[in-house]
């Protein structure tokens, strides 16, 4: 058994506490290598209520010391009372009997109190992990939308979601993951809406993980996805709490972890990657307009370079004569074939993009603009590429930014290269074939059992929120493809 959750930990062989405080202390100190671990702290006091020695163990770096002082040490020194829980004024206090759970608790920022002549230890939550405050979303910008984004703290994130969705059925179930460093993965769902099969599937996958450590959502995504080699992701990564809340409401499942300023939504369809939350905040016409533009950007980004290569290499009759002659006159002095030209520019565009991402902040904007302009302009003037290729590549690059989701963005950029190769191979014949097979590949995918292109095909009873959405008043159903328990949303 590699996966010890808290619940089944009791079933395992455990080391119980002994009555001897010294013995316990030595054991615990040994476990945490206290002579090496600088921030592992021990404090011994004599409690007033029982006149017995009590030892406090904690990591000084992850606890709130004021809380310890005000809520534990002072009451123990000053207050009188029947037993320990009645003296300590802090909210959560737990009784522990074995070393395993003591270790877990200390690691997650609790203070553990060992009592003289007692087989029970007490654990008080005084954790104070440091994290950023709530900031604006960095990657999923929007004009007309709430500006809060998730931050690297689980509690804050859950609070951000609960703030948006007040329902007693909204469950935040914790599931520990990792053999060595145990971290909770929080599964959020609405209990009377979510589909049990999918939920069970997620729980199973989390249970089956056998790794020492899963640090955050980003690695978790790769641990639980079905097809690691696939060109598309099967989980949606979002940093917007409003988006997470709206998915929860529709019956989706949201995964969260400490240390990640985002959450994972599952199951996903193609449309989850295509939509942006702002589409729903904008009015019917405006939202759909921006969707058309995005669809256009999607197609341009995928196909324009490939089509240009195919048309100029194999189907020159298709180009209107004026444009054709313009292309010819520009290309007469270019020393490379069209494919090479396009690949050259596409690769330099990707270079600018990658470099722009890694470059230190103050240099960023300069390099971006200068790089693009200089490479484009100078390459044209040096007759290395023709100006039309610069337009084509710039168009496809620009359009790729309109596909905001990072996973889909990569999908498109990689596919674009595939299409350029296909187009150069046999013109429109192979390009059409490649596109068809690509779409069929998407259609054959399933994310946690849900067809990737649903509800376009296969169809389900839903609001048919695919390329276009309906007027918000007419959205009666939850997405039928994820089989929610409660299909009807309103009306």
């Amino acid at each position: 058994m590699f996966f010890k959750g808290k619940k089944n930990a009791e079933a395992n062989k455990q080391v119980p506490l002994s009555r001897n405080l010294e013995k316990n202390t030595t054991h615990l100190k040994q476990l945490f290598s206290s002579e090496l671990n600088k921030d592992f702290s021990t404090r011994e006091i004599t409690a007033r209520y029982s006149n017995k020695r009590i030892k406090l163990f904690f990591y000084s770096s992850i606890v709130n010391s004021t809380k310890i002082h005000e809520g534990i040490i002072r009451p123990l020194l000053e207050a009188k009372g029947e037993n320990l829980p009645s003296i300590i004024t802090l909210e959560a206090i737990k009784e522990l009997t074995d070393f395993d759970s003591i270790i877990d608790d200390i690691n997650s920022g609790n203070v553990v109190l060992l009592l003289e002549d007692s087989k029970t230890a007490y654990s008080v939550n005084v954790a104070d992990f440091k994290h950023r405050g709530i900031e604006k979303p960095e990657n999923e910008n929007a004009v007309k939308a709430p500006k809060e984004a998730f931050t690297e703290s689980l509690n804050v994130n859950i609070s951000l979601v609960r703030k948006r969705f007040h329902d007693k059925q909204l469950i935040a179930e914790a599931k520990p993951v990792g053999n060595r460093s145990k971290l909770d993965v929080t599964i959020m769902y609405v209990k009377d809406v979510v589909n049990n099969e999918i939920l069970e599937n997620v729980r199973e996958r989390l249970d089956q993980l056998s790794v020492d450590n899963v640090r955050n959502i980003e690695s978790l995504e790769q641990y639980i996805e079905e097809r690691p080699y696939s060109i598309v992701s099967s989980l949606l990564y979002t940093e917007r709490p409003d988006r997470a809340a709206s998915y929860l409401e529709d019956g989706y499942i949201v995964l969260m972890m400490e240390n990640s300023s985002a959450c994972l939504v599952l199951p996903v369809t193609f449309w989850s990657f295509f939509h942006s939350e702002e589409d729903r905040y904008l009015r019917f016409l405006f939202g759909n307009f921006s969707r058309i533009i995005r669809l256009l950007a999607f197609l341009i980004s995928l196909l324009v370079s490939g089509v240009y290569v195919a048309v100029t290499n194999y189907h020159s009759e298709m180009i209107p004569p004026d444009l054709l002659l313009a292309i010819v006159s520009a290309r007469e002095r270019v020393p490379f074939p069209v494919v090479f030209e396009v690949l050259l520019m596409e690769i330099s565009f990707e270079l600018i993009r990658e470099a722009g991402l890694r470059i230190p902040n103050p240099l960023g904007p300069t390099i971006g603009i200068v790089g693009a302009l200089i490479i484009g302009q100078a390459a044209v003037e040096a007759n290395i590429v023709s100006p039309i290729v610069v337009i084509v590549v710039a168009l496809s690059g620009l359009s790729s930014f309109a596909v905001a989701n990072i996973s889909m963005n990569f999908t498109i950029r990689i596919t674009r290269f595939l299409f350029i190769f296909a187009a150069s191979f046999f013109g429109m014949l192979s390009l059409t074939g490649a596109f068809l097979l690509w779409v069929m590949y998407l259609a054959s995918l399933r994310s946690f059992g849900v067809p990737f292109l649903a509800p376009l095909s296969p169809s389900y009873k839903s609001t048919n929120d695919t390329v276009f959405r309906k007027i918000i008043k007419n959205e009666y159903f939850r997405p039928g493809q994820i089989k929610p328990k409660d299909l009807r949303k309103k009306g």
């Binding site: 599937n201 194999y314 009759e317 004026d322 429109m428 068809l436 259609a443």
Partner: protein, 363 residues
């Protein structure tokens, strides 16, 4: 996860049948019809329909009666294992030969019109390689892809119809019976196998969400594609005069080459070629998949999907047998279509008679 239910609904059946038969509008079939029909060939699909429709309805009636059986299972159930298998194997042979012949015809069109310098086997290979990879993804994916692309394919066809409409002259359909009513009816009846794909699709009878949805989809798609075919044949008849129409080998491509969108987009045939290719690819995916399926069913091979590769290969080999495209079209395809028509008209009647005598229908 939701393994029990099928993804295939009536709209997928609708799309599949339209693509399978609809593609025939745009290949050499119209020119085959024009050889005898001349400017009256737009009437011929109606005659073919009248000939084939009773058998189609009979077969679907039997499938409904026998519930939960696909074509081969039905054949074996009614006619007994041996005779049923023989007929099913005949079906397999017919569709395999059809696939090979039409595959060759497509290749020749592509080669002649768009890739004149490429060798035929190479174009053939690419066509079938793509169809093979698509067929490998399974029936559900093929169904979904058919539905997704159906709209765009038909939209492009509609655009073509609108663009060519300016060039058509309605009076060209007169004299109304072309070369005479008698040859028209005879030839139309002989070529009734143009709708044979309706029989092929019954292999998937049990794979759909419900058999009712399947019937609804196929029969409405059938009606749609019949109207579309008549309409397009009508367009061909009104674009080309009666003396020219039988000289045109690929009327669809002649139209796409002829039309223009204003003065600037004058050569837009490649645009239509894209959608035509989508349809053709999907058609061969369906064909490859179903042929392997029938073969698998006849020889009790449960996992028939590995068979798709050899059949794609043999399809190319068989398609390369005729020496040139004209022989392929005018000799092989025409006489083959005539040959198989009685079979398709006959076998559902045979099934029905046997079932009637056995008393199965009174259940």
């Amino acid at each position: 996860m939701f393994k029990k239910e099928s993804r295939l609904r009536s709209r997928e059946a609708f799309a599949m049948i339209i693509l399978m038969i609809g593609v025939k509008i745009s290949n050499t079939t119209p020119s085959l019809f024009a050889q005898t029909g001349a400017n009256a060939m737009w009437l011929m699909p109606s005659i073919s329909l009248v000939v084939i429709l009773p058998s189609v309805l009979l077969l679907y009636y039997l499938l409904k009666k026998y519930e939960d059986k696909n074509l081969v299972e039905l054949l074996e159930d009614v006619l007994g294992s041996h005779i049923g298998k023989v007929i099913a194997f005949l079906l397999f042979l017919i569709f395999f030969v059809l696939m090979a012949i039409e595959g060759r015809s497509y290749t020749e069109q592509l080669k002649l019109l768009y890739f004149p310098d490429s060798p035929t086997p190479f174009v053939f290979f690419i066509l079938f390689a793509i169809a093979f990879y698509g067929a490998k993804r399974g029936l559900e994916t093929i169904g979904s892809a058919s539905y997704i692309f159906l709209f765009y394919i038909k939209a492009s066809v509609l655009l073509l119809a609108v663009l060519i409409f300016r060039e058509t002259i309605t009076d060209r359909i007169f004299p109304i019976f072309g070369n005479g009513l008698k040859p028209l009816v005879i030839e139309g009846a002989k070529k009734a196998s143009i709708f044979s794909d309706v029989f092929l699709l019954t292999m998937a009878y049990t794979s759909f969400d419900s058999s009712k949805k399947f019937r609804l989809g196929v029969l409405s798609g059938f009606a749609f594609v019949f109207i579309e075919m008549t309409f397009f044949f009508f367009l061909y008849c009104t674009t080309f005069d009666y003396n020219s129409i039988d000289k045109v080998a690929f009327p669809f491509h002649e139209l796409t080459q002829y039309v223009d969108m204003g003065d600037f987009f004058t050569n837009i045939e490649t645009f239509f070629m894209i959608f035509w290719l989508f349809a053709a690819f999907i058609k061969y995916m369906i064909y490859l998949y179903f042929i392997s399926w029938i073969f698998g069913a006849v020889f009790n091979i449960k996992e028939f999907e590995p068979l798709i590769l050899p059949f794609a290969f043999f399809g190319i080999v068989a398609g390369m047998v005729p020496e040139n495209a004209v022989i392929n079209e005018l000799v092989f395809k025409s006489s083959f279509m005539n040959m198989i028509t009685p079979f398709f008209v006959g076998f559902p009647v045979l099934l029905w008679l046997v079932a009637k005598i056995k008393g199965d229908l009174r259940r």
